[in-house]
């Protein structure tokens, strides 16, 4: 029997020519917490999906309990005792706790009829494993994220899990909930189960993990004991640079605010929001999921309609009823979810770039020349170095970073006063991320007022000259230049 539960060496994986994983090696010890750390887009999720059998690796070797495993399928992984708790938790929100716990074993057993008593027994057994108490008949969708997570853990334990992988489990939790989760994690660890904990939050990793594996750009740059590292070294490994160096420093901020929000309130979403935004400034808005940050952005773009409060643009109170009005008021918005809100994937790149500026490009009577679209697309392709040889190709042929550049171009080709970016670099590789940040800095220095909404704190820290922190629909903190650090924001966020 090997000392390690899971050993992976030389793992490679490419998606349509892009290397997502490049020669990754790491080991997981039984009864230990191993942390897989790295920034967004470094390949963490891809690695997890290879372990759980969702993706197949291109190259490399996997040993589980010392035995070589040539091909992992999801069913195989479950049989081996590998359980993944994904961020979305893969639960059935419309079913009860009991049904959620019992359904997998019922299906595996191939039973055709329902037996309430047996279901209850299964569910109780699962909960008892971590000594967790909850109403078995509560609807899953009505539970808090923390409770859902614990139910998901219980469900994983039903399969005699030897390795539990948790994909960024603390993202939507409060500080107290995180403590409770960590208690459960330690309990599991002490019972001999290996935990693989995925995170990019420094303090959590140091608190919970025994071993750490840091990934950057699809490679693992460090693996070893957590105690051998200092937080500074850790951050360096994760980002590949000393973080303090390239803060954005605004060069010419206008005297009068271009946008002023007073007492803005949207029922059940946010209340009494006040802030000012000047030209040349990058304002960060951060907060957990559900803190009202996205709804605030949508209100400024005419997709949500707050009943109370004022939006003042260039000194005049305005009513923004629709994105069309927002566009006329020179407000642009790059949405959170690129695939569903930002792009027409199966249409040409050029048509996507020009989608919001057709009015400008057309001649009398709404006449349009296709060549004008292509020319306009080529301008942005050059300016933004979008990686394609032909703008007539579909947007779906591009990588996430390049797709995001399309969405940005779409708004930048309009004449804007205010640009709102919601999660501008989610799922974007590091290179494109830097391109996008550099471009936003340049635009701000040319006099654009920018709002960046993000829960990627390192992004907020590097780019924003001022930060608003939201919690439960309220502004709970406002930070100026030198106070903006990840630690301070984390402190306020919870």
């Amino acid at each position: 029997m090997s000392e390690y539960l899971l050993e992976m060496s030389g793992i490679c994986k490419s998606f349509t020519g892009v290397k997502a994983l490049d020669n990754v090696n790491f080991k997981v010890r039984p009864g230990k917490v191993m942390c897989l750390a790295g920034e967004n887009g470094c390949g963490k999720s891809t690695l997890v999906k290879i372990i759980s059998g969702v993706y197949t690796k291109d190259e490399g070797e996997v040993l589980f309990e010392g035995k070589k495993i040539s091909k992992i399928t999801p069913a195989e992984a479950t049989k081996l005792g590998i359980q993944v708790i994904y961020q979305d938790l893969s639960i059935f929100p419309n079913l009860t706790v009991m049904e959620n716990l019992a359904i997998n074993s019922e299906i595996t057993a191939g039973r055709a009829l329902v037996n309430r008593k047996r279901w209850e027994a299964t569910a109780k057994e699962a909960l008892s494993k971590i000594g967790y108490n909850i109403d078995l008949y509560a609807k899953m969708g009505e539970l808090s994220v923390a409770d859902k997570q614990l139910v998901a853990i219980c469900r994983a334990l039903l399969f005699n899990a030897k390795l539990i992988i948790m994909d960024e489990p603390t993202t939507a939790l409060t500080k107290r909930e995180v403590d409770a989760l960590f208690k459960t994690v330690r309990q599991l660890r002490d019972s001999g189960i290996a935990i693989m904990f995925i995170s990019h939050k420094t303090e959590e990793i140091f608190e919970i993990s025994d071993d750490v594996c840091i990934m950057r750009n699809g490679k693992n740059v460090y693996s070893g004991l957590t105690s051998d590292l200092t937080p500074q070294q850790f951050t360096f490994h994760m980002t590949g640079r000393e973080l303090t160096a390239d803060h954005f420093i605004p060069k010419n901020i206008s005297k009068d605010p271009v946008l002023k929000v007073e007492h803005l309130t949207l029922k059940n979403k946010f209340e009494d929001i006040n802030f000012e935004l000047r030209k040349g400034e990058i304002l960060g808005v951060t907060g957990l999921l559900g803190s009202g940050r996205t709804e605030l952005a949508l209100s400024l773009f005419g997709l949500e309609h707050p009943k109370e409060g004022k939006i003042i643009l260039n000194g005049k109170e305005v009513h923004i009823g629709s994105p069309i009005q927002a566009q006329n008021l020179k407000i642009g918005y790059v949405p959170e979810d690129r695939l569903t809100e930002g792009l027409c994937l199966n249409q040409p790149i050029a048509d996507n770039i020009t989608l919001s500026s057709l009015k400008r490009l057309c001649k009398a009577f709404g006449l349009l020349k296709k060549q004008d679209l292509i020319d306009d697309g080529n301008i942005w392709k050059e300016k933004f170095s979008i990686a394609t040889d032909d703008v007539r190709k579909f947007a779906s042929t591009l990588s996430g970073g390049n797709q995001q550049k399309i969405v940005l171009s779409k708004w930048l080709s309009n004449d804007l006063d205010v640009l709102i970016l919601n999660g501008p670099t989610v799922g974007v590789d590091v290179g494109a991320k830097q391109d996008i940040h550099a471009l936003v800095h340049e635009l701000a220095n040319e006099g654009l007022a920018v709002i960046i909404i993000s829960d990627d704190l390192s992004e907020v820290v590097v780019n924003c000259s001022r930060v608003i922190v939201m919690r439960d629909g309220k502004i709970v903190g406002e930070l100026e230049e030198n106070d903006i650090t990840e630690e301070v924001i984390l402190e306020i966020i919870r």
């Binding site: 998606f15 887009g41 918005y333 949405p335 695939l339 994937l345 199966n346 349009l368 989610v426």
Partner: protein, 340 residues
Amino acid sequence: MKEKIKNYASKNGYTVMLLALMAVLLLFFTITKGGDLWHLGPWKGICMQFPEFGLMTLGVMFCFIIGKIDMSFVALGDFASILAVKYMEANVTEGMSNGQIAGVIGVAFLIVIVIAIIGGVINGVLITYLNVPPVMATIAMQLVWLGLSTALTQGYAVSGVPPLYSEIGHMMVFGFLPMPLLIFIIFFAISAFLLKYTVFGEQLYMMGTNEKACRFSAINTHAMVIKTFVLAALFSCFGCMIMVSTMNSAKADYGTSYVMRVILILVLAGVLPDGGVGKISNVLLSIVAVQIIATGVNMFPELNAYYASLIWGGLLLVVLVITAITNGGKKFSFKKKKTS
């Protein structure tokens, strides 16, 4: 040269398929029916018959391109044409000059246009503001229009179409071009122009690909949906007015089989109901191909009208299955999971 043909074929799969289908059909009917097909008669019939459902097809094509569907268009067209015929019946009296009758016909057409706009707006509002799924909204409206027509006419055909109207309908423009065909050509030109050279056309395709992204790109998606359904209603009502001239009457259930035929034509032409795709030139080929089937089937007296539904339904099923199989692999491949 070979390379060029191959390249063309891979890029224009539907065009090649439709041309091949037409060739096979013509060959089949030629073999089975000898030279019967190759007289002026059947071809004249083809040119007279397809414009009415051809117009409807062009209208519904716009709905398909934005990823929606209209099932109510024939019923709406029948209702509009019943009102138009009733109006003409009531207002054309003996001894009126042709000029006066033309005036009455003009007013009747205004009525048709107004009804079409009302019908289109109702469909559009139901779908875009009240978020009713298009199939259900338009099937409900189909029943409403059918019900109104039936109540209004007790289920009987409304005749009393002024002779002048039928005369215009059967006129040969320039001595060789049947009036319905001319009208179809005009509407086809308008449609092609809209799709290829206007902002509206560009937005139609983008809407069909991702409506939400269009809303986030400051496009008035509500207005787009309503405009599209009004367009479909107008085209369809004009199609029904052509039907009035050939049937010399209007009735609540004329042309009900066209609903499925129009869907068949569009799917066959590669204008898929998921939206965002489709070439109007292929729609034209597809209309002609389907008309050849209709004409050809008519040449077999043993296949009487009782088999019509079976034939069209079976064809639609086959075409749907073929497109689902051939597109299935591609269609869902773009739904990439986010990697982070």
